[in-house]
């Protein structure tokens, strides 16, 4: 899937790395890696599927929907989110470092990441649930891990890309500083590289975390292979309330969700972004400074100093232990023959493994269903593609004028920006029941209504980025246009649209990715006893997930990834390039 970066910071750190920087190198490597990912998916499925037999005895969990249950559920959900964030951060460090340090691994890891973030995360969920339940038979831990894994997959790719980019674009003098003063590798990482990438990491983390709520809700209650699983949490609470058709309790759940989103933002992300200001590399000029009441409060207290003193010996110990990783140095004269031999060996082994898996996959599919299995999702994909297009075009027509109006007014921006940020974080699937209730009352078809459901989450990215774009248009340009009497259509054509274009493209990419992902839950929606199903690839994947139909699931997920990648390459990437070369300020 496409990640959920919003705002100027995310646009600055993660997007260029993903889209612009790798424009030319996208060739057969992508095809190979796409195949590799597909193979990996397939292997996990096979392994998971083989062990489901043992699992059939465990019973489904019944969720208590009394409102007093909510605080506990909320805590469980939060815990899941933060465990996933920790896992994403560790993954980011390891994966980005491996890719940035090893020339060979880089050629596989980075394209793999590119494909991974185009794969609809919700398609992974089945794989995760079956796999993890097999790992921890008879225990809730398996389900717990599966849910965390789903959130993880929505966060990790974007964070990793951002950090990889900051590793590879480390200022030259910092690299030379590290080598000239013979830093240990451990020191280089913690004293130079992590701080240098800290701001991007924190902002990416915040945006990815916001996107993660959606997957939390989607993964807490899920049916796989005709079995319903549920974990205690806000998502499953809402799921149960929806199943009961209890609008009051759904309301309570929505309220809890809102409190959590805002609370985490206030108590965790705001202080963290404000704290990360100290890692700004510009030596003097400070633009817009992030502030946080919570951080100011913490800084006034003695705890940070006390904690610092307590932890210092631990830090020293770790630094000493880290010396075993060796000194940051590059040999001046590499052995070319050995290097070449290594390259060839690596290519042969990696290529062989992928080929072997691919052959097995094709064999599996043609044994079960034949390769014609790809035909149906390809057709259905067109329906979903049309919905995605309507979402993007519709949101653009509605939100761009409004966003520009807000961005041009500092007063409106101050009010609207945090609000939109929260709206973008708020899991839209939480609101689906209300929408479905509305559809049922008005008789609106889900084929059309699905568009609205998909737009519920996706539209905010366009609004958010349009505001950021409008804000970035310099005031003197606006004054010059006033002065020259440039108004109306001409003003839009000459000033506003070119000015917001780069930001808008960022928002559009994100909105389009979000809409694809949302289609999996938006094209098939249960409410009480009724289940509304639209024609589309999302519903196809959802259906295959629920019935445990793995060949169709593989085909569905692969085709959706194909659509997402295709749309990005053929459409968004071109716009992005145009924005970079022509409209970047």
């Amino acid at each position: 899937m496409l990640p959920f970066p919003t705002g100027p910071a995310a646009a600055r750190t993660s997007l260029p790395s993903r889209i612009a920087g790798r424009m030319s190198r996208m060739t057969w490597v992508d095809v190979v890696v796409a195949a590799a990912v597909l193979v990996l998916l397939y292997i996990t499925l096979r392994v998971g599927q083989g062990t489901t037999v043992r699992f059939s005895t465990s019973q489904s969990v019944k969720i208590d929907t009394h409102p007093s249950q909510l605080p506990y559920d909320a805590a469980r959900s939060l815990l899941r989110m933060f465990v996933a964030l920790t896992a994403s951060t560790v993954f980011t460090f390891l994966y980005a470092c491996a890719a940035a340090r090893s020339r060979r691994l880089e050629r596989i890891l980075i394209p793999a990441l590119d494909i991974l973030q185009s794969v609809p995360v919700l398609g992974f969920l089945t794989v995760a649930v079956t796999g993890f339940i097999a790992l921890f038979p008879g225990s809730m831990l398996g389900l717990e891990c599966a849910s965390i894994f789903a959130i993880f997959t929505s966060q990790a790719w974007n964070m990793t890309f951002g950090f990889y980019h900051s590793l590879t674009s480390l200022p030259r003098e910092l690299d030379e500083l590290s080598r000239s003063f013979r830093f240990t590798r451990w020191m280089r990482f913690w004293k130079v590289e992590v701080p240098a990438g800290a701001i991007g990491l924190v902002w990416n983390g915040m945006m990815s975390f916001g996107g993660g709520w959606f997957f939390l809700v989607a993964s807490e209650a899920i049916s796989v292979s005709n079995k319903d699983y549920a974990l205690p949490g806000v998502g499953s609470y809402a799921g149960a309330a929806i199943a009961d058709g209890d609008l009051g309790r759904i309301g309570w759940a929505i309220l809890t969700m809102a409190v959590m989103v805002i609370g985490v933002n206030f108590f965790f992300w705001r202080p963290l972004t404000a704290w990360a200001e100290k890692f700004k590399n510009e030596q003097s000029e400070a633009g817009e400074i992030q502030r946080s009441v919570v951080l100011d409060f913490l800084r006034r207290s003695n705890w940070p100093r006390l904690l610092g003193r307590l932890l210092r010996p631990v830090g020293h110990g770790l630094n000493r232990a880290g010396r075993v990783l060796g000194v940051d140095d590059r040999p001046l004269a590499p052995d070319h023959r050995r290097r070449r031999t290594g390259d060839i060996a690596f290519a042969v082994v990696a290529g062989g493994l992928i080929l072997w898996g691919l052959a097995d996959l094709v064999g599996y599919l043609s044994d079960r269903t034949g390769l014609g299995v790809f035909g149906e999702p390809l057709l259905l994909g067109l329906a979903t593609l049309a919905r995605v297009a309507v979402v993007v075009v519709g949101s653009t027509l509605i939100w761009v004028p409004i966003g520009v109006r807000i961005g041009f007014s500092p007063r409106l921006t101050r009010i609207a920006q945090p609000l939109v940020q929260v709206l973008a974080s708020f899991p839209a699937n939480f609101l689906f029941p209300l929408a479905v209730w509305f559809f049922l009352r008005t008789g609106l078809s889900i084929d059309v209504g699905g568009v609205l459901l998909m737009a519920l989450g996706a539209q905010w990215y366009i609004l958010f980025n349009t505001i950021a774009g409008a804000m970035s248009i310099p005031t003197d340009l606006r004054e010059a246009m006033d002065d020259l009497g440039v108004r109306g259509r001409q003003r839009w054509k000459r000033l506003i649209l070119p000015g917001i274009f780069p930001s808008y493209v960022t928002g559009g990419i994100t909105a389009s990715g979000g809409a694809w992902n949302a289609s999996i839950v938006a094209e098939i929606v249960p409410f009480g006893a009724t289940t509304l199903t639209a024609t589309g690839l999302g519903a196809y994947i959802s259906h295959a997930t629920a019935t445990g139909d793995f060949p169709h699931l593989i085909a569905g997920v692969a085709v959706m990834s194909l659509y997402v990648v295709g749309l990005n390459r053929l459409f968004w990437r071109r716009l992005h390039r145009l924005a970079e070369t022509r409209y970047a300020s």
């Binding site: 030379e176 020191m187 590399n281 140095d329 590059r330």
Partner: protein, 460 residues
């Protein structure tokens, strides 16, 4: 100077190091480069940046690597520091060929390269921390270095709270605290304002003279001739494309050096002449400059990075001074450094608007006319002048031969790629575009990356 007089009042402090730099510079050979070349990958094969460099740095001396931008002086410094691998030849530290970063050097950076998330003291401690020195001893040594370099009281400040001069002091303290044999300075004063730079230079020289300097030799990269003459014992002038050692000057003057002394002035003029003059070639009697006689091509005649406005400005200024003026004086008067003014001088020469004779820049007839012309006239004169510039000529003739008078920039980029790095190709085309546009010889469409013959322009 008043500042240095004030500084003298401060009592000297022990640097805590035992070794004194032996003087004069007849100490051990600390660094030695032999047959060093460095080239970067170009379109077809390697493009040399440095060729045939033989250089020794001995204990007790300060050596300047002086050159225009693009002369590879910074690359040479990084080769000596073991940060950049040479393409051929060797760099040895105390006779041992380098296999990685040079263990006997520490670097001071033009951009300071301080870690903004660490305090002054933490920044200074970095090198010791890397060596695994225990925290207490680290702090002690760092405070001593901070003290020595005049940073007392700033230990707990963050770099962004400091002025440029103070930041560079942190850079010096950080390098000195590890007591390297050779201190590597990469244009350490060029990011500072004039007064701050002057003050810091003075203090460093005093430290060096007082014997408290905890290093045994210094290599200074600079493009500032006066700085080199003021501070160093030996000036190695590098020529451009590819960088070679053009000439080496010994500086036999005593510290502190008097800028107004005739010897100082004379040396500056000599170095200036070496840097502005064409590379030495054996001249055949009866023929003029052999380089001029040789056919000029875009490959052997790179366009200097100079805008039309800068050229006009310089020409007018020289015209004001009677069509002839001393280059070193002019640069000083304008507060400019070699890097700023030399491309303009080269461009005047290339366009036959002016030429360098001895220490002076002299306007030609065409140059004088150019200086006095109004906008339309000056465009006409410029067009005449620029027509014979190899790259501009190449573009105009290629466009003329093309049926629809347009050509993609990629065509010229490919042609140039055989002789320049991609960055240089960009610069060459940028200048050619600028000049050609002003002369109304051709236009350039940045969206389509296309050159088009300017039919309405001044007829050829």
């Amino acid at each position: 100077m008043v500042l240095s007089a004030l500084r003298n009042l401060r009592p000297g402090r022990a640097a805590g190091t035992a070794h004194r730099p032996p003087r004069p510079a007849d100490g051990d050979v600390l660094l030695a480069a032999t047959g060093l070349t460095k080239s970067y990958a170009g379109a077809d094969g390697e493009l040399p940046v440095l060729t045939g460099i033989d250089l020794e740095v001995r204990a007790g001396e300060i050596v300047a690597l002086l050159g225009k931008s693009g002369s590879g002086k910074s690359t040479l410094l990084r080769c000596l520091a073991g940060l950049v691998p040479p393409s051929s030849g060797t760099v040895a530290y105390r006779g041992e060929p380098l296999t990685g970063a040079n263990p006997g050097t520490a670097m001071v950076f033009q951009t300071f390269a301080l870690l903004p998330w660490l305090t002054v003291q933490q920044n200074v401690e970095l090198g010791l921390e890397a060596r695994g020195v225990p925290a207490a001893r680290r702090a002690e040594a760092a405070l001593r270095a901070i003290d020595l370099i005049g940073l007392d009281g700033f230990e707990s400040a963050y770099p962004k709270e400091l002025s440029g001069g103070m930041r560079q002091r942190v850079g010096f303290a950080r390098a000195l605290v590890v007591e390297p044999d050779v201190l590597m300075m990469d244009e350490p004063f060029s990011a500072l304002d004039v007064l701050t730079a002057e003050n810091l230079r003075g203090e460093l020289m005093e430290l060096w003279e007082s014997g408290q300097f905890p290093t045994r030799a210094v290599v200074l990269v600079t493009h500032n001739i006066e700085e080199a003459v003021l501070m160093t014992d030996r000036i190695v002038v590098l020529g451009s494309r590819p960088g070679t050692i053009r000439e080496t000057f010994d500086v036999p003057l005593d510290h502190p050096r008097d800028r107004n002394s005739p010897a100082f002035d004379d040396l500056i003029d000599r170095v200036y002449r070496t840097m502005t003059g064409r590379p030495k070639v054996t001249r055949v009697p009866g023929r003029t400059d052999t380089v001029e006689a040789e056919k000029r091509t875009p490959a052997n005649t790179p366009l200097p990075t100079a805008g039309v406005d800068g050229l006009s400005g310089l020409v007018e200024m020289v015209e004001h001074r009677g069509g002839r003026c001393d280059l070193a004086d002019l640069a000083e008067e304008l507060g400019l450094e070699v890097d700023d003014i030399l491309p303009l001088v080269d461009a005047l020469d290339l366009l036959c608007l002016g030429k360098v004779s001895g220490d002076d820049l002299v306007l030609t007839e065409r140059g004088t006319a150019f200086a006095g012309a109004d906008v339309q006239q000056s465009k006409k004169i410029f067009a005449e002048a620029v027509r014979d510039v190899p790259l501009v000529k190449l573009i105009t003739t290629s466009l003329r031969q093309n049926p629809d008078s347009t050509l993609r920039a990629g065509f010229f980029r490919d042609l140039l790629a055989h002789h320049y790095t991609s960055e240089q190709v960009g610069q060459q085309l940028e200048t050619a575009t600028d000049w050609g546009r002003y002369a109304e010889l051709y236009s350039y469409d940045a969206d389509r990356q296309e050159y088009r013959l300017d039919e309405a322009g001044i007829p050829g």
